[in-house]
């Protein structure tokens, strides 16, 4: 009989710090999904007209919603940084014999990220 290393099916992510970090990163997707639904709610309210859109904006100001959006914003930045840091490992780029250093791939993502964020801020009327 082959040796099977005993691993808990329900608590394995507590065994090592890196496993816990991985699980936390996976759970950020809950905030991604709920934020997508909030955006969907906003799009629906724009389709319904100015009064409905104002109701959507007013809904954002409730204390619970404010707290949720603060947590979401922090989690989204964490999600982005975690995603860009694994991208060089998930999609390595080879040039000739050598692999392009991960720092260059991640760095390029950060440059695009900053440029895109500034564009979105401009489009949304922040400045």
């Amino acid at each position: 009989m082959a040796y099977v290393r005993p691993v808990s099916k329900t608590r394995w992510y507590r065994a090592k710090r890196s496993y816990t970090v991985h699980m936390l990163q996976e759970l950020t997707s809950l905030f991604v999904g709920i934020f997508a639904l909030i955006l969907l709610w906003g799009i629906g309210s724009i389709a319904a007209g100015p009064a409905a859109y104002q109701a959507f904006l007013d809904g954002l100001t409730s204390p619970l919603m404010l707290l949720w959006m603060w947590i979401t914003t922090i989690v989204m930045f964490y999600h982005a940084i975690a995603w860009f840091s694994v991208t060089p490992k998930a999609m390595p780029v080879q040039r000739g014999e050598e692999f392009v250093p991960g720092s260059i791939i991640a760095g390029a993502h950060y440059v695009v990220w900053i440029a895109l964020s500034l564009l979105v801020l401009l489009l949304a009327g922040v400045f």
Binding site: R11, E26, G33, L39, L40, I46, A47, L121, V126
Partner: protein, 113 residues
């Protein structure tokens, strides 16, 4: 067929993760700005309506919402499995169900704008 589905789902998942990584932090920040009503013009109705009234805007908004929903549904499915929840059929049905409904609704709303 199963292999094709797997590749298709994986590419949608990766696209969703990359797209949300690029635009969700700034979008969440903008929603926070709007919640505090500062600066005054942020996310104004005319501005938002204008962005979503052309087909490029509609396409970007649809792609962002739909890919984010599918990405989140798939990732939560694997995460819940990792947490020891074995009701995968229910988890998949609820997650992908919400993603499908959100995809259809976002298209329906955007066409009306």
């Amino acid at each position: 067929m199963a292999k094709i589905n797997k590749a298709l789902f994986w590419s949608l998942f990766a696209a969703g993760g990359t797209l949300t990584a690029f635009v969700f932090p700034v979008l969440a920040l903008i929603v926070l700005f709007a919640a505090y009503g500062s600066p005054a013009d942020v996310m104004g109705y005319e501005q938002m309506h204008g962005l979503l009234s052309n087909w490029l805007g509609k396409l970007v908004a649809f792609g962002t919402v739909a890919l984010a929903l599918w990405h989140a549904a798939h990732r939560m499915r694997t995460a819940l499995h990792g947490l020891g929840i074995r009701a995968d059929g229910v988890v998949a049905a609820v997650g992908y169900g919400v993603a499908l409904l959100g995809t259809v609704l976002s298209a329906y709303y955007l066409v009306q704008i």
